[in-house]
């Protein structure tokens, strides 16, 4: 059977969105291959989450619970993942393109001596020279290009998936599946031992925002970032920005949009004072409606906007805030 495995990530006793996004994609890939979806869940006391994974499409959940695995421990997490994959020889392995997923996936791929792609934004099966191949679509050259990659001979085909890009499925309460509890044999695995996790308080998350207002360097001459904050306030949106906005210290790194930052897909994305470099626009290209506001009529932001406004930001944005308050 040609199965698909998803390595699931959890924290604070909830599944991360990217895990559910991958499960939905895995379900579709497995249907094409005529196989099933298995999930691997590692942590401490997370059986409830294993059951939730079944509702989202996993036929089988490999559940590894141990108090020593409460925090991410690279040694055991990686070895356990590689062992399960070796045992069940799936066709495809998907891992979240999160900071932890990006720590696990390359080393597992190297252990298995197989191919891995990074930050996939789409995945599909195509028959190439008579063989089912997973086509990985990854952004390249800072998002200026898209690249199709395959792993023609070796198996499994491994990919990390960019969070926030693929669709999340809905739980199906009629689904049944199997939970396989594995007690890990934890050997001398703690050569890199996580001692503690320190949270640095991310107030609200960009991920689920319906409205995102994002600012770029063009605000520098327009008197600063307050315009973005004011507009976000008026429409109950979240504040974000470009890399130059981050470099200016206007936003924290967690609010930087683009290739090396966040991907968002809100109902409304408003970009103010950003010229629209590809590595920025790739971070919001799946938004429902995009509004571009910039003083330069030739700015490439207007190529990726549904509604465009050219003019002085310090005149237009306050009027917009005024109008929205009505």
């Amino acid at each position: 059977m040609k199965n698909v495995v998803v390595l699931v990530e959890q924290g604070d006793n909830r599944l991360m969105d990217v895990s559910l996004e991958m499960l939905q994609k895995a379900t579709k890939l497995a249907a094409v291959l005529g196989g099933n979806v298995s999930a691997i869940l590692i942590g401490n006391q997370c059986k409830d989450l294993a059951e939730e994974l079944i509702l989202y499409g996993a036929s089988k959940v490999f559940l590894i619970e141990d108090s020593r695995l409460q925090l991410y421990q690279s040694g055991p997490y990686i070895r356990i993942t590689a062992d399960i994959i070796s045992d069940i020889s799936p066709e495809i392995v998907l891992i979240g393109g999160t900071s932890i997923g990006m720590d696990i996936a390359p080393r597992v791929a190297a252990m298995l001596r197989t191919g891995l792609t990074s930050h996939c934004v789409d995945l599909y099966i195509e028959k190439i020279e008579g063989k089912d191949q997973l086509v990985h679509i990854v952004p390249g050259w800072k998002g200026n290009m898209m690249i199709k990659i395959i792993c023609p001979e070796r198996r499994p085909q491994m990919a990390t998936v960019r969070p926030g890009v693929m669709e999340k499925g809905k739980p199906d309460y009629s689904r049944r599946g199997e939970i396989v509890s594995i007690s890990p044999e934890i050997r001398d695995d703690f050569k890199a031992k996580t001692l503690e996790m320190v949270c640095e308080g991310e107030e609200r998350s960009l991920d689920d925002a319906d409205i995102v207002v994002s600012g770029g360097y063009g605000l520098y001459s327009a008197g600063g970032f307050e315009l973005v904050e004011g507009l976000a306030d008026a429409i109950n949106g979240e504040v974000a920005g470009t890399r130059p906005a981050f470099d200016q210290g206007w936003i924290p790194e967690s609010r930087m949009i683009g290739q090396s930052g966040k991907t968002v897909k809100p109902k409304l994305f408003v970009s103010i004072g950003a010229s629209g470099a590809m590595h920025y626009t790739t971070g919001f290209s799946k938004s429902k409606v995009v509004v571009g506001i910039d003083k330069n009529p030739k700015a490439s932001i207007f190529n990726v906007s549904d509604l465009g406004v050219v003019g002085d930001l310090e005149k237009i944005v306050p009027c917009l805030i005024e109008e929205l308050k009505k």
């Binding site: 900071s99 200026n144 990659i149």
Partner: protein, 269 residues
């Protein structure tokens, strides 16, 4: 105590010029003529971190790259920043490598150069941007790795404490040395080569390593270059993000009124 540190670096096309790249309609391959090469910016942070650790504890800093002959420029640059020894893995047999075979060849280079306490890399390059190599290199060297380091505190020759970034904070990780650690931009501000540094660099050694160096440490021909690379690029195409824009003009008040009305019509508000 003293630390022998090796930094793996890569010469990459300058991302400031990525808008100049295009696809050759005939061959379907990337046209990157006229794009200058630079040392991958995060690799400079890795070099800087190595130099600071050497300044603190004594020891040596070696820089290693795999690439075509012109990649030597990046090694010279690192030597001018203050690294002691440079090495380049340069061989036609290495061409076409994906991250797996790159990591394998780098591990061969490191083994043939000697024993190191710390192996540093940038977290990712601006071109491939996979972020794979550090963890894969550690696998080939059979030592632990820590990625996305924003702070490295070396305790003694056996142990370092690393602050490793995660989405909402960081993990404090105790790692046994030798280890591979990949660094983020926020770890330091890297120095630029001084005139003095450039003059001194001219007298420093650059070791040239080919596939035979890898074979000597047990890497086979099947593991290097295209043959050792499981992945293949099928096609490159331009990013399909384009939308049909509706421009809204007029006086600011008028623009605001019309824009808000359109947003309601589009059910975006």
């Amino acid at each position: 105590m003293s630390l022998n540190i090796i930094v793996c670096i890569k010469q990459v096309p300058d991302p400031e010029h990525f808008d100049k790249i295009s696809i050759d309609p005939g061959t379907g391959s990337i046209q990157r003529e006229g794009i200058p090469s630079i040392t991958n910016p995060l690799d400079r942070n890795a070099i800087e971190e190595a130099l600071r650790k050497k300044e603190e504890f004594g020891g040596t800093v070696t820089v290693l790259t795999m690439g075509p002959p012109q990649a030597k420029k990046s090694i010279e640059d690192a030597l001018a920043m203050g690294a002691d020894v440079g090495a380049i893995l340069c061989d036609g047999a290495f061409a076409g490598a994906d991250t797996l075979s790159t990591a394998c060849v780098l591990s061969g280079g490191i083994r043939s150069l000697g024993d190191f306490d710390l192996i540093l890399c940038g977290s990712e390059t601006v071109d491939g941007a996979t972020g794979h190599v550090a963890a894969q290199l550690a696998e080939f060297l059979n030592i632990p790795h820590v990625t996305f380091a924003r702070r490295i505190n070396v305790i003694n020759e056996e142990t370092a404490i690393v602050e490793r970034s995660i989405e909402n904070g960081y993990l404090r990780v105790e790692v046994k040395l030798p280890a591979v650690i990949s660094v983020l931009k926020s770890i330091n501000k890297y120095r630029l080569p001084t005139v003095m540094g450039i003059m001194e660099a001219a007298g420093k050694e650059i070791v040239e390593l080919g596939h035979s160096a890898c074979e000597l440490v047990g890497i086979t021909g099947d593991e290097i270059g295209l043959k050792g690379s499981p992945t293949r690029v099928l096609e490159v195409f331009e990013s399909p993000q384009r939308r049909n824009v509706e421009m809204i003009g007029g006086k600011p008040e008028e623009i605001a009124r019309r824009l808000v009305r359109r947003l309601y019509e589009l059910e975006a508000l």
